[in-house]
């Protein structure tokens, strides 16, 4: 079949346009719509971002997203290069062998009051990749337990029990180490605080 170049060009453009349109409708229209419908039918909470609400029903954050904690009565999450900005996430992108990371780690060590007898768990010294890692290791939680207990006037054993209750469900394959969701743990401590009759 011999065709001229002009006809060829016309046929190519026509076919390209038709196929572009068809694939846009399928891949950008129907496909996302199908996934969206399934998500909202099957897992509505997760589909809209695993948001966590307080007793008044107000959104306090997302279970999957770290938020800033600075008060001594709360557990603190891993450091964040983006200050826990959940609309512009990111890591430090610094070399783990460079002077900037070392200086930052020195400051963190001082904040936590770690020393060679009580070394700081490494996840509290290293910024996470997204700046929004919602988890800390069990060791990192236990490391902070006495500060939290002291600030809240709670018994250390009560705080540690709360940590372990959470760490159980977060064991990950491969490391065997427990992980703790900082926001969930802090909310539970707040809730427990309200029901305690005499704060110690």
């Amino acid at each position: 079949m011999k065709t001229t170049l002009m006809e060829d060009t016309g046929a190519n453009i026509a076919a390209s346009l038709r196929i572009a349109l068809a694939t846009i409708v399928l891949c950008s229209g129907l496909y996302p719509l199908f996934i969206f419908s399934f998500a909202h039918f099957a897992v509505p909470e997760a589909a809209s971002g695993s948001l966590v609400r307080n007793q008044a029903g107000k959104v306090v954050g997302s279970r999957l997203i770290a938020q800033a904690f600075t008060k001594p009565g709360y557990f603190w999450p891993r450091p964040s290069a983006v200050k826990y900005t959940a609309e512009a996430a990111g890591g430090s992108n610094l070399s783990p062998a460079g002077p900037e990371v070392r200086e930052r780690a020195l400051k963190t060590v001082k904040e936590y009051g770690a020393d060679s007898r009580h070394p700081l768990p490494a996840d509290l010294a290293a910024t996470s990749g997204s700046g929004l890692d919602p988890l800390i290791t069990l060791r990192a939680a236990l490391f902070q337990a006495s500060r939290v207990a002291h600030a809240r006037g709670m018994a250390l054993s009560d705080v540690e029990a709360a940590i372990r209750r959470h760490a159980d469900g977060q064991k990950i394959l491969g490391s065997g180490e427990g992980l703790v969701n900082v926001l969930v743990l802090n909310m539970e401590l707040d809730a427990a605080g309200k029901t305690t009759m005499v704060p110690r």
Binding site: G91, P96, A97, S116, T137
Partner: protein, 557 residues
Amino acid sequence: MQLLMLLLFIALPVLLSWPLGRFMTAVMNPPINSSDGRMEILLRKTGGRMLDREQDWKGYLISMLFFNAIMFTAVVLMLALQQMLPLNPDGKGPLEASLIFNTAASFVTNTNLQHYAGEVSMSYFSQLFALTWLQFVSAATGIACFTALARSLAGRTLVGNFYRDLLRSTLFILLPLSIIVALLLVVGGVPMTFEGAAAARTLEGAMQTIARGPVAAMVAIKQLGTNGGGFFGPNSTHPFENPSFLTNYIECICIPLIAMATVWMFGRITGRMRHAAVIFSVMLLLLVLKSGIALNLESAPAMAFKGLPIESVSNLEGKELRFGPSGTAAMWAAVTTATSNGSVNCMHDSLNPLTGLVPLAGMWLNVIFGGVGVGFINMFIFIIVGVFICGMMVGRTPEYCARKVETHEMKLALLALLVHPLLILVGTALFASTTWGASTVLNKGAHGFSEILYEFSSAAANNGSGFEGLGDGTVPWNVSTGLVMLLGRFIPIILPLAIAGSMAAKKPVPETTGTLRIDTPLFAVVILGSVLLIGALLFMPVAVLGPVADYLSTSIQ
């Protein structure tokens, strides 16, 4: 423990690639007399009469270029007008012109280098209709061109019809797989919503704006189509793209899956399964080596913490805890740069200095399964060169797939081989020696050089990952990497198809006892040799200037 990880993350895609390869062959290359099937009628209704034409390699490539030009134009328009288009609940504003060019080039070429952060700059319309669409059709372009190459090497001078192949791979391979993966991800906690960012008042009373959106649909195809462009800036490191150990596993095995299956598909189309097995094992060996090295190197603690009162565990800078020990993130880094995926689940800039060499090496070779379709096309060049060298050694005209490989083919093959290092080395030299690059690095010294080197390697390999410390949102970066991506995509598709087309037009030579056997372990050594020697020699100097110097200067004090 580390070995178990290695096995877990590589064995499953290897196992799945076999049935998938069979399925993909049936879909892409049905027997010729089945053209009256219901599927084929559906395709013809969608694409029009053009789909009836059987094209030679030239016609096929021309159609490919036409379609890609339309892809590019359509997406430039969508991105340029995003502030006026719907599905923009957070009111994202207009994008800068050079960024639009870079982003369109990036997604058309299956690279997904992102000089923007999705949650900051892109409306939901741009994410779904511009970027996700291109993630489907750019991957489909790769699969289509690969199928044409395989048909060519099977001896056919008419290699099929580009539009038909494109529709087949989009509709029957990429869409069904994406639906399965997206549904699994949704169940695993990945958001899928059209609501704008959520406003939260934190426990300490501060306001936190939580960006979200139709994430699951995009993550599924970016993992499967070796695209790698995520919804959020930090890609699969972000908890919304990758919320758990399990979603991490699903996403990681999706990375090499289709590229692995194409190797089996090649064996089926050319009727040379043993040859395909030889190629597969070379690729697999390189993948295992690369992942093993990364896993091992990344288990070392961060050097910056040395001597400080910090517990000594594997390097956690730029990592997320839910994916398990740092090694699993390093493995992802190895797999994502072996294939040209480029999605990340940790920050590559913050990998240990020597670990950073592993993703770089993967992108330099660019044949360890590689991008969907194009990975095999790249490997074809190394095979031709290997066959040629063997022919020279025994003093026979080299042959491949029962066709002679002569001067014309070798000229094209060497050109194809040299484009990749040329783009990387010239670009790196230019930017490292001028303020264009030197003023945009975040880290000092050798690590900063690695940032520039990584960016050009990623662009030329159509990978799309980055040492993200680099301030790459500037006009020089946008324009230069945009051009590098386009050249690094289309030249390595056009030249190999030209070679295969020229071979198919020749008379077949009978295979005798003197013919170089391409289905033996010996031939595996030949390919391995040509990949490693050519790859290593070309890039050794920059490897020493970048990651190796970085390692030596920080570890010996």
